[in-house]
Amino acid sequence: MLTSDSCLSLHKHGSSMASDSNSSESQRIAQQRLRIIAGHLQKHKDDDSGTIATECKAEANKGTVPRKRQEIMKWNGWGYSDSKFLFNKKGQAEFTGKRYRLSGMVLPSLQDWFENTFGASVNHKSPATPALNASAVPPASLNEAFVEDLKATGIPFSHEAEDRVFRAHGHCLHEIFALREGKKFERVPDMVVWPNCHSDVVKIVELACKHNVCLIPYGGGTSVTSALECPPEETRCIVSLDTSQMNRILWIDEKNLVAHVEAGIIGQDLERLLNESGYCTGHEPDSMEFSSLGGWVATRASGMKKNVYGNIEDLVIHIKVVTPRGVIEKSCQGPRMSTGPDIHHFILGSEGTLGVVTEVTMKIRPIPEYQKYGSVVFPNFEAGVACLREVAKQRCAPASIRLMDNEQFQFGHALKPQVSSIFTNFVEGLKKFYITKFKGFDPHQLVVATLLFEGDRERVLQHEKQVYDIAATFGGLAAGEDNGQRGYILTFVIAYLRDLGMDYYVVAESFETSVPWDRVLDLCRNVKERINRECKERGVQFQPLTSCRVTQTYDAGACVYFYFAFNYRGLADPVHTYERVEHAAREEILANGGSLSHHHGVGKLRKEWMKESISSLGVGMLQSVKDYVDPDNIFGNRNLL
């Protein structure tokens, strides 16, 4: 909006100059030039106003996410309403819907694995509350003056209970558990607004400041750090600012290979739309189906293929943020600058405490010509980690390389769909025989690395050979494309599986860290042992599942991702038990040289360790930025600090 205003005034100024023109030749030329410029501007202005009109009307919303998210997504679980795991009447697991490769398939080994791993039974159900009890939702306490002013802007909003509850949580275990149990939320947003563009956000933030309203930006809602939880002590009206309708690619610049995108777009839409033009971002966090560009920026997200494309901080060229003090942006799109500390780094990871990210210019790449999955089996986790370390050392990591431990390997196997052809079964059996009997791998020790190569065909094949050669020196055996691909499918369905677990008294969660190479093994072992021990001490009656994988490699270390689940039958307060165990696990991570988070962020869940992590001086630096940018704590989600 600022730009269009200044255009207008320049235009006026230009035409008034043109009216008193009659002196020298040079003046004439100058006037001519001005006329031309004015003409351009005039035209530009018209164009501009046209764009703005479309910008904010958003009549043709192409995005996947409707304003009423609950129409297509679960209100008390992960993902789409039509997609879920269940045990059918025969006791066999199947995945409903049509959206995924696994959809509609029967998974014959899942039940055995599930019952044996957790000591659970398909006969012991712990069903969720079927529907939201709207009367259990705290009534909206609205700031009437704010609502009046907001109405005048025409920006859509709602204070219906379903909309508010949907935005009162992310996907932490305790949040989903509370929804399933029909527990009352202490504090939920009082209303939800759906800005359609940057200027809408500017208006909303101005009004929020004017009326002292608390704003909580909401993107994809996939947070697992309690970042979306409303602070119970917040007495002002809380407005959830849902960015989902700001979901367009505004332009693509093929010369510089960048795209300018509204920050509310979710990962799958961004990829799909860019693909239509032959491009991709290559940024694929596990949550990309639902998480948003703005959310990635706000949490310092990391994508599975970062080895080729980089993490979010490597991908962004320019960020536009609306804060209570105004809009932060840079003056140019230079690929690197030495202009003091990079202000983008105040925004990246700010977790919605400073403002709303509205538009981002980010790198794009042509869609790779060729993609190939792969997998390598190692005799044990130690060998696998040593191999990944060597791959990182030689800087030849494929787009993605992940090492799953034995527990996850077995889990992956339990998700094998029913095989139709006898022949495939036979080949699988043969492979298993070769690895365990002939090569002497212990099936309870062996681990698998999954690989994804990208690029032009020849290079991919060359690259593949290089990686397999390295793997061979660590005793790794190539184990086929299917196993690799299955590993990545697991990534997208695992969140759905948690809902299945919760139907049968099993709670589960994941957490992550980053750690120097030499401490990876020690950290994994100690954290698993700590979890097992804490569970025992806290009265968990069944052996928990603790599993980890190395999901990212860097020059100096790796990202490690843990899964942790247990059967909670017999526990009075499973969520509390779970939280204490996770707390202990995090302490163990920190004591073993791991970071507080690699990409999930801090939110409110891990705030207590911030001082320890970045020093109290560091916290002070961040605090002073917050105090300057948002002195009245309009962005009052109280994350991070």
Binding site: R519, D522, R525, N526, R530, A591, N592, G593
Partner: protein, 641 residues
């Protein structure tokens, strides 16, 4: 058993001692074939089922470790020698150090020791619950065995017991002096001993090889590691203040996250009669310790003809370093340094290790099994002129009651009349005390022919010091109340704070002679008050501490108990005040103070009967107390004493 409410050593420590019953392992040996026993199937369970590591492989792991390689390069740079040469040096050190545990040698010892034990001892008793706890611990975590050290027998005995119970055989840190005995040294090496030089102060390479050797065994859980916290055999049968070097080494892998936990197992080995009894007394009096030699050992066969009563070995509760360190040491301080670079432990860690060491030694003390004779010895030493047998019997019964109410671990024969207990104790220790004409007195060795006053004094001192080594075994039970008794006696008034000041003065002064955990002054004082009040010797109206009507015998016994120490320290002070010249070196100190003490003892034959001041142990401790500088000047000290 009494429990002391105010005395709790803190989180992670076993709270109230519950002492288990004992089983005599010789009983079976007397009833079945020793040969069969030595050749039976030996298949111990190991830490997490690791396969045992061949001695040679172990050496290679150590020589190739990052830790050692780093130090080799460092030493090479400092000395200008090529790394190969230093590496070779390291290899030689390792060769000299390393154990070569062989089951055949262990079997040989199993056979030979069975024979020897059966002739020497009536019983070798082991607490079976302790063995079960140990077996559990060995499977879960690396285990460090920490036995008390009173005799050369200790470590053979330990291995013998572990073999008997089919537990993993330990590797044992032994002093290099054993290496002098060529054949025996090698035999010990093959039964699991590894040898370390007594002093290697600044030798970086030696330290690196040594610590890496120990850590490698610990990290991999190849075998339990055994060493003596006290560093050397205690010649006085008082526990020695712990040495921290090895304890630091075995704890560090936990702080660095290389192992999940380390279990420390305090083990108390109590001998009814110590093989080295009179040898120790002579050594303390300045007769040089016989050098360890094979021929010396053969001469010691004479020993085989005597009865040494029974041995009790108590395996204490395994102590988890992880639980101990919680909240005391922040492990993340190890995050910012490469773990293979040797670093001096931080202050926090040092004081943790120091505190742990003291508490382990106290646990050793607590679980020492006391025989009636130690009570009798305590009484006899307060009546050097001899006692009526009936009085001795009567007082022993009284003292037994006192000891039991102070939670002493007393092995008093069931259902035996007291007179019988006393007489059989006297019979076993007939070398130390004799009964003639109904009077019991110490036996003074009487050489044939005329005796000089010096010789007479020496012989007298030998018998007093030998007897004192039994009294010393019970000191830890009475120490705190005894110091309180002395403090009440010396304090100017009965005001609690004045008594406390005196107590605290004694506490500081005696902290080399007794095991007093650093920083526990107040706790010890309260414990002492509690115990004296509990047994009715003292009452504490308001801010006073006063003796009760019935308190006299207890308090005067306690005063008498510590009198030799007080007098000894007094003599040392007098020497330093009156005789010592300016340039006195530590080397000259012992002979000089000894001859001063001689002259004092020859002149004063009346009240001053502090033969114990002739003990080099006491002389060293007194000097150390003075050198610590915490105490007032010597004159002031003398005045206070």
């Amino acid at each position: 058993k009494a429990c002391t409410p105010n005395y709790s050593p803190g989180r992670g420590w076993p709270t109230s001692q519950t002492q288990d019953g004992f089983e005599d392992i010789l009983e079976e040996r007397r009833n079945s074939s020793d040969l069969k026993y030595a050749l039976r199937c030996y298949a111990p369970v190991l830490y997490k089922g690791v396969t045992p590591c061949k001695a040679n492989m172990l050496k290679n792991i150590v020589l190739q470790s990052d830790q050692l390689r780093y130090v080799i390069n460092q030493v090479s740079q400092e000395s200008g020698e090529a790394p190969d040469i230093i590496q070779e040096e390291a290899s030689v050190i390792l060769e000299e150090m390393a154990h070569r545990l062989q089951i055949s040698t262990v079997r040989f010892f199993a056979f030979a020791l069975s024979k020897a034990f059966k002739t020497l001892f009536q019983h070798v008793c082991v607490n079976e619950e302790g063995i079960q706890r140990l077996q559990q611990a060995i499977q879960e975590h690396p285990v460090v065995l920490l036995p008390s050290h009173r005799s050369y027998m200790d470590f053979l005995l330990m291995s013998y017991i572990l073999y008997t119970y089919d537990l993993a055989l330990p590797v044992i840190a032994a002093g290099m002096d054993f290496m002098g005995m060529k054949f025996v040294g090698e035999m010990l090496r093959m039964s699991g001993a590894f040898f370390i030089r007594r002093s290697f102060g600044g030798d970086k390479l030696y330290w690196a090889v040594f610590s890496e050797y120990v850590k490698t065994m610990l990290r991999n859980g190849f075998a339990p590691i055994e060493f003596f916290l006290e560093g050397t055999r205690s010649r006085t049968c008082k526990s020695l203040t712990p040495k921290l070097g090895l304890l630091n080494i075995v704890i560090e892998p936990f702080f660095k996250g290389e192992v999940f936990d380390v279990n420390l197992v305090p083990i108390s080995i109590s001998y009814e009669r110590i093989l080295e009894e009179s040898l120790y007394a002579r050594e303390l009096l300045g007769v040089p310790k016989p050098k360890e030699s094979t021929s010396g050992l053969l001469k010691a066969r004479r020993i085989l003809s005597e009865d040494y009563g029974s041995i009790h070995v108590y395996f204490g509760q395994p102590v988890s370093v992880r639980s101990l360190a919680q909240g005391k040491v922040n492990r993340s301080t190890y995050n910012l340094f490469p773990r293979h670079i040797p670093r001096k432990p931080m202050e926090e860690t040092q004081s943790f290790v120091n505190d742990t060491a003291y508490r382990i030694v106290r646990l050793q003390e607590d679980n020492m099994v006391l025989k009636p004779w130690v009570l009798m010895a305590s009484l006899l030493l307060q009546n050097l002129e001899g006692m009526e047998l009936s009085v001795l019997t009567e007082q022993t019964v009284w003292l037994r009651g006192l000891a039991l109410s102070y939670a002493a671990f007393l092995d008093w024969p069931d259902h035996a009349p007291t007179a019988k207990v006393v007489s059989s104790s006297l019979a076993l220790h007939r070398g130390l005390a004799c009964v003639s004409g109904g009077r019991v007195s110490l036996v003074v060795g009487e050489p044939l022919g005329p005796v000089t006053p010096e010789e007479a004094l020496f012989n007298r001192a030998v018998s007093v010091l030998s007897c004192a080594s039994y009294r010393n075994q019970v000191l830890h039970v009475f120490l705190r109340p005894a110091m309180l008794a002395v403090a009440m006696h010396t304090a100017a008034s009965s005001k609690k704070n004045e008594v406390y000041n005196c107590f605290s003065f004694l506490w500081d002064m005696f902290s080399n002679d007794f095991i007093l955990c650093p920083g526990d002054t107040v706790q010890d004082f309260e414990e002492a008050c509690y115990l004296l009040v509990k047994t009715g010797a003292v009452q504490m109206p308001q801010q006073d501490i006063v003796m009760t009507d019935i308190g006299q015998p207890t308090l005067s016994f306690f005063n008498g108990l510590l009198e030799p120490f007080l007098q000894g320290y007094q003599v040392v002070c007098r020497y330093l005040c009156e005789e010592a010249s300016e340039g006195l070196t530590e080397k000259q100190y012992i002979p000089a103070v000894r001859s001063f003490a001689h002259s004092v003892l020859c002149v004063f034959t009346g009240n001053l009967r502090c033969y114990e001041v002739l003990s080099s142990d006491m002389q060293k401790n007194a000097l150390a107390a003075l050198l610590r500088g915490k105490l007032p000047t010597q004159k002031a000290l003398l005045a206070r004493l």
